[in-house]
């Protein structure tokens, strides 16, 4: 009996549609702060990405999923996807072949800044500092301006706050609030 080829041909023609959804999502979430609308766009994007890149092997697949997880309030998931994304670009950045992926040095630095911001938001301050330092070093080597100054300030602020809380109350007990995932919320 002939075996079926499990590898589906990738439908490239659907990617521009996914990209436009992603742009709409960025606009509604960051610029207009419309959470309800963002969630409905995120759900459409998630369904599309599940068809286009089910195994998260592409850069946009990981990037889109990271943003969707962030909107969903699942920071651990967002960090996981963002880490995979940075790891994939890392190989090209080390070999100084970012242009092979049609990326610029500031795109890579931006990804590191975003990862640092997510770490900071999740309370993983040492990892946040490592990521932002890596970004700063990369920017210095590439000769581009460093854009993550505000993220660094935020990390320092968080570090001071956590130090004060630790000194006044002892260990900090942070309650984790479980949110419904987007697919179940709507």
């Amino acid at each position: 009996m002939p075996t079926k080829n499990k590898m589906r041909p990738i439908d490239l023609t659907k990617w521009p549609e996914a990209k436009s959804l992603y742009v709409r999502l960025l606009h509604s979430f960051y610029e207009r702060n419309e959470l309800a609308k963002s969630k409905s766009i995120a759900l459409s994007l998630l369904r599309m990405i599940d068809l286009l890149d089910p195994l998260s092997t592409t850069l946009p697949g990981n990037e889109y999923r990271a943003l969707i997880a962030e909107i969903d309030g699942d920071l651990d998931e967002a960090i996981r996807y963002r880490e995979v994304l940075v790891k994939k670009i890392d190989e090209y950045a080390k070999a100084k072949r970012l242009q092979d992926l049609a990326l610029k040095p500031d795109d890579y630095a931006d990804q590191l800044d975003l990862l640092a911001a997510l770490y900071c938001e999740n309370g993983r301050l040492s990892e946040a500092e490592a990521a932002i330092s890596k970004s700063e070093k990369f920017c210095a080597e590439a000769g581009i301006p460093f854009d993550g100054k505000d993220v660094r300030k935020q990390i320092e602020r968080e570090r001071k706050t956590s130090a004060q809380v630790t000194s006044s109350k002892g260990t900090r007990n942070k309650k984790k609030v479980k949110k419904k995932p987007i697919s179940k919320a709507l």
């Binding site: 990617w15 996914a18 592409t58 946009p60 994939k88 092979d100 049609a102």
Partner: protein, 87 residues
Amino acid sequence: MAREPKGKPIKKGPKGGRKHTPGRDHNTKSGAGKKKRFAKKKRRQRTIDQENCHEQWVVWDSLSDDAKRLRPDLYPDCPRPNDADEE
């Protein structure tokens, strides 16, 4: 004797009056100019779109197979210019 009107015969209603024709005697003088302006604007936009499309295809063709696998979002959202010309 009444003269016969030139051109198309005027349509008339059951009572003999001239039948209603929307826009009769109200054609704007600027209509022709507008048409030209819109056509020019559309032509300019079409040229920009074609240039963008060409650039997108140049970027896509310059990617290696590995890069194409990693960055499918760079796939152009317009048909390849040569293919469009052939059609």
